[in-house]
Amino acid sequence: MKYCMKIQLTVFAMGLPFLDSFSNAAGRGVWHADELGLADAQVIATGHAALDAQLPGGGWPVGAMTELLQAAPEAHVWRLLLPGLAQAVQARGGPVVLVGAPYEPCGASLAAQGLPVESLMCVRSEAPAARLWACEQALRCADVAAVVAWLPQARVGELRRLQLAAAQHELLLFVCRPESVALSASPARLRLRAECCEADASQIELHILKRRGPPLAAPVLLPARNERMAALLAAARLRRKLRHQQQGTVPAGETAGARVVRIDAWKGGQHALDRLAVVA
């Protein structure tokens, strides 16, 4: 149907020249369903260029709910959200409220990746109703930068309420839910499903289930580890290979792909205990 609409528009524009200017002017307000939609509100870049290219407006929508579906509640959350959250904290300056986080976030790790420790606030609660209430209260607060909530049992009506609150107060809202709800309806403007890549464990497969744009044919692939971790793993692999070579046995499958990576582990810092010791 969307193609019919487009063809009709083109026919009109060709046949009636005075409509040309009109269709040009209206073009900005018209979203063709086969193109990626424009953001009608502010967005915050995700920090992953491959993902930005597939999102309407080029980032996480501010003032709308983004739903993240994963197999385990802790999986991939920080890898996907952390750059965006760090930007939001820098721009707005308030805390990121985590409602019902599955484990304790480690401040040192997040601080190393750009999210300061003092901009975290955790609401621990097991009851679904209390989580929803806390979420809504956090959304109504003017000083909060973003809300990340784990709501495995939320119903559609409750999610819609949160979506409205986020729209009213123009906040980043991420809701993490289990994979099993992928087929049910949701008021979220953007729905993503993240899973580990079967072929390569160092990649995240990101399926965009819902967005303002055409359905995504192939999933977006993102690195599952940050640069530092990837470099560390590559260096460890290289060491292992060298040691095997010295011992005269080269295991199959580990010959190609290893790069020499320099780690600036000795630069700066205070405690020798915190440095990395890479041994095979």
Partner: protein, 452 residues
Amino acid sequence: MHWIALRWLPEAITSGSPEAQALPTPEALGWWALQYTPHVAWQDEALMLEVSACERLWGGRLQLMRQLVAANPAPDVRMLGTQGATSLIALARLRLFVREEKRPADMPAGLPLDTLSAAREHLDLLARLGCRTWGDVAALPRGGLTRRFGAELRAALDTAWGLRPESHAWLTLPDVFEQKLELPALAETGPELMWSANRLLSALQIWLRARQRGARSLELQWTLDLKRFNGVNLPPHQQLTVRTAEPTQDMAHLRRLLSEKLALATLAAPASWLRLRTLETDPWAGASTSFLPEDNRKGDRLHEMVERLSVRLGAQQVVVPSAQADHRPERKQAWRPALHMNSSQPAKSARNDRAAASQPDAIYPPWLLPEPLLLEMDGERPCYRGPLSKLVGPQRVEAGWWGDKEEGGQPAMRDYYVAESPEAGLVWIFRERPSARFSSGEVRWYLQGFYA
């Protein structure tokens, strides 16, 4: 002398819910009037304001009346106001106004006799004497009137004509807010106290505005009606305290905190009296305004949200991390209740801790387990959702050898590894290093965090 008499008529409105008619206490209404003139007193049912010295400040009598009506402290309740040369005349005119009668032509003499409080007990006799107005009584001979009806009636008439000075006990603003109120009915549960607490809160708001202070902590106390209940001796009072981080004159926030606390409170016995007092107040600087859009975001303040969450869920459920200078990951950050965010540690140690927490090259996992999880062993290899293969490590941590019980009990001697689990992805595990003194000799592996 010029007097204004004010009266609030809660029963005058028939529409509207009973909650809307919660009038502040009479003292509080007096405190509100103190902003216009220092001479305020309650006389019978009316609040009397003596304004001869200050009416010029407010732009004349008419202007002052308009301002009084516009700034009604109880907007849901109709306020009536009249003026007069003496307090008795103003009061009599107010009574006529309430009865919706016209004012007489000659002012003090033509007023009907039942509008004079001092003549009320003698009304029948005076009517039989043929006296219907103030002027009729004032025309009676002085000596006979005093002997027959007592000195008060003659004195009141003299006062009304301005022949005698008036004396009043002027209201003053107390230094500490403390108000008591009897409940309309015995309350058995916490939420039933809320209606009367609302009246006290609106009185508190008037007091705070008059004193130009903001409330930081309040105490609500209720008197128990029973001395013994189910064989247990009861204390005479029960109370709860409400605190807020920033001084406020906004009662909506305090009301929410109070109602959340009252919903959790249990009354040991039915309560009959309610008392509210301020524990801490701060000078009120006024609300600052800004034209910049980023300063004018709509929504609550952060401390209001934190207080609201903490009061319903419990202070231990709303927490913020603070960095600590320790190498054991489970002690590297401490979770404190977000309520005490502002009462922070000294600046220098905070800066050190922050520096320790933000080393850019540390490879901590983003998720930590609250307690290290003892892993099962498959021969030599630890298992967590499948056998683990160590990728990076060891990173050696030796800490806590100085500590006593609350510092962690025993020294931590650990070798940390980044390992890969076939199902859970990258995990952070450690091996307790066997040491001669503190361990039994067997090798134990623990899971501490997830890189997922």
